[in-house]
Every structure is written in structure tokens, then in C-alpha cells.
Symmetry: C2
């Protein structure tokens, strides 16, 4: 697909500036799609030319002006069509996995240190996701529509991180010498 449709989804929830979108791609939607601000601006330009979004310049005091983008009817139509298309299966590219596979060609302990570091990164992300879940969706059983969909995506992020942590632990258990492990 590419960023376009992720932006359409994001704008369907809330009109916002490129800056704001870029920040949201560091959070909520960002669990499953990332984008730098440079790319967001570039793509927004294209989308405006295509007539999917319109910009409204908002002046602020004490802060730079901003362009707030909103979906047009064409944008909404595009989004609807895209949703009906098949989604291609995600490709997981894990540099860490390649390093683990090739570890015997270098210093295995260095690779293990990386696995440990990644484990912590995933644990941190899991914590933020869980805090998010607790704070934003305290009563999941009652959720309907949009909110339920958002919740489900967050749940996906949570189980992804849990899986990653478990995998790191499996590697660490298997590759840490028993002498170190038991002491």
C-alpha cells in the first residue's frame, strides 16, 4: 500500500497537521506503520494534488502557523475502495534474527548482548502499550465500532511485543552458558 492510506485512516479519525500526523506515527498507528515527518509532508503534498485532502492554514500565537489537513469526499471514497481490496501479508524483516542465525561467524556473546538489549526495548514498548490499554480502554467489553477497532490494533501490538520478549528469552536461555545461568 504505502503511507497514503495510513494517513487517510488517521485523518478519518482526526484532521491534523503534517507535524501532528508525524507524531501520531510515532505512537498509536505507529505500532504498525511508521513514517518520518519528511515523508509525511511529501506524501501530503501528493495527496492534496490528487484531491484526497484539503489544507486549511491555521494561525497560532506564539507558535508557527500550521496547515490542518482534512479528508475530502474523494479521499473518503478512496479509503472505502482501498478497504475493500485484499491486504498483502506483512513482511517481517528482523536484522536481529539474521544476526542470531549467523552468530557463529563472530562473537556470539556480542550477539547475545544485542538480544538482551532488544528484549529490554520490547519490554519498554510493551509497558507503554499496556499503560495505554489501561488508560484508554478501561472497559473493553463495552467497546463498539471505531473504538473497538482501535483497541484491537493495540491488542495486536501487545501480543507482538509479548511474542518478541518470549523469543528473546528463549534465545538467552539456550545460548547463555549454564554456569552463568544458574549462579
Amino acid at each position: 500500500m504505502s503511507l497514503e492510506h495510513a494517513i487517510l485512516v488517521s485523518l478519518s479519525e482526526q484532521s491534523s497537521s503534517g507535524y501532528d500526523l508525524a507524531r501520531r506515527f510515532d505512537r498509536s498507528i505507529g505500532h504498525f506503520w511508521t513514517a518520518t515527518h519528511q515523508q509525511v509532508y511529501k506524501v501530503l503534498g501528493r495527496m492534496e494534488s490528487a484531491g484526497w485532502v484539503v489544507a486549511d492554514v491555521v494561525e497560532q500565537d506564539g507558535r508557527p502557523d500550521k496547515k490542518v489537513y482534512a479528508l475530502t469526499d474523494d479521499g473518503r471514497a478512496e479509503l472505502r475502495e482501498w478497504l475493500a481490496e485484499p491486504a498483502q501479508p506483512e513482511v517481517t524483516r528482523s536484522e536481529l534474527a539474521v544476526k542470531v542465525r549467523g552468530a557463529a561467524n563472530g562473537d556470539v556473546r556480542a550477539v547475545l548482548a544485542e538480544v538482551r538489549r532488544h528484549r529490554e526495548l520490547h519490554a519498554d514498548r510493551l509497558d507503554t502499550y499496556l499503560a495505554n490499554e489501561k488508560h484508554e480502554f478501561p472497559d473493553p467489553a463495552r467497546l463498539r465500532g471505531r473504538r473497538l477497532h482501535q483497541y484491537l490494533v493495540l491488542r495486536g501490538g501487545i501480543s507482538l511485543e509479548r511474542g518478541a520478549i518470549e523469543w528473546c528469552d528463549e534465545i538467552l536461555t539456550a545460548l547463555t552458558p549454564a554456569t552463568k545461568r544458574t549462579r
Copy 2:
């Protein structure tokens, strides 16, 4: 990183042709890194210029000639250095997740059908991985070194697929009307 190092790892296990490498990227290593044959050939060219690999033309009867690539000492050195560097955390890009999040903007049932389709794709991949595990690593407790590392990466693929299936199921349970579910 990029493909280069994945190819170095692959060649460290077994010298092979570009065609063969491309096929392996559809399997074993491919759980965590993919590449088309076009890209493999392109990168192999670059790697040969850099002196990381050498090609040996092998004539075959009844089949086209092939170039079998092998690691050089420089290639091995490069691999060793790369293994000592930190790995950047993977970015998971899931088109399906974006569709789930935006589902309310279109036909929710169409998105659910996609979730169901993806569930089956993941289930199929899980089956191949499990068959692989059983066949190639019947006695995991005894594994050491390279073989153990390969096994651990396969385990990662397995838990990734399991996680994906569970997530799909969670979505299906949450979004399928109870009337259809209980029947």
C-alpha cells in the same frame, strides 16, 4: 542493514548460486528476510566488486551454467564486523492492521474476510515451519553452535505465526456478530 549481510550469512552456511540464494530467501532465512531474484543478482554483483564473494562458473548438462558464489576472507571479515554492531529494532508494517483500524470507513465485513484469509495464510506457514522443525530438528536439546542458532530462528518464526493467528482470532471473535458466532 540490507540484503548484503543476509547473503553473507547464507553463503557462510553454503556456497551457492544467485538462483539458489533467491530460493532460500523464500524459505529458511526468508522467515525474517525476503528478496527477489532480481535483487539478489544486483547485490551479488556489488558484493563481488567489493571483494566479499567470488564466483565460480559451473557447467551443468541439461541445465544452464550457474555461478556459484563463495565467501572470501574479506567477506568473512565483513560479516564478523557486522555481527559486532548493534542491530536496529525491526519495524513491523502491517497493512492489515491499518485496515482494521480504519474498517469503519468502509465495509467491515470485507475487512473481516481479509482477516480470515490472513489467518489461513499464517496457519499454513505455521504448518510448514512445524513440519520443518520436526524434520530438521528432532532432538533440539542436543543442538549446539550453528544448528542451534538456526533452530532458534525457526522458533522465532513459529512464535510469530502463532501470535499472528491468535490476533486474527481475537479480531474475528470481537467483530463477528454473536448470532453468527453461536450458530
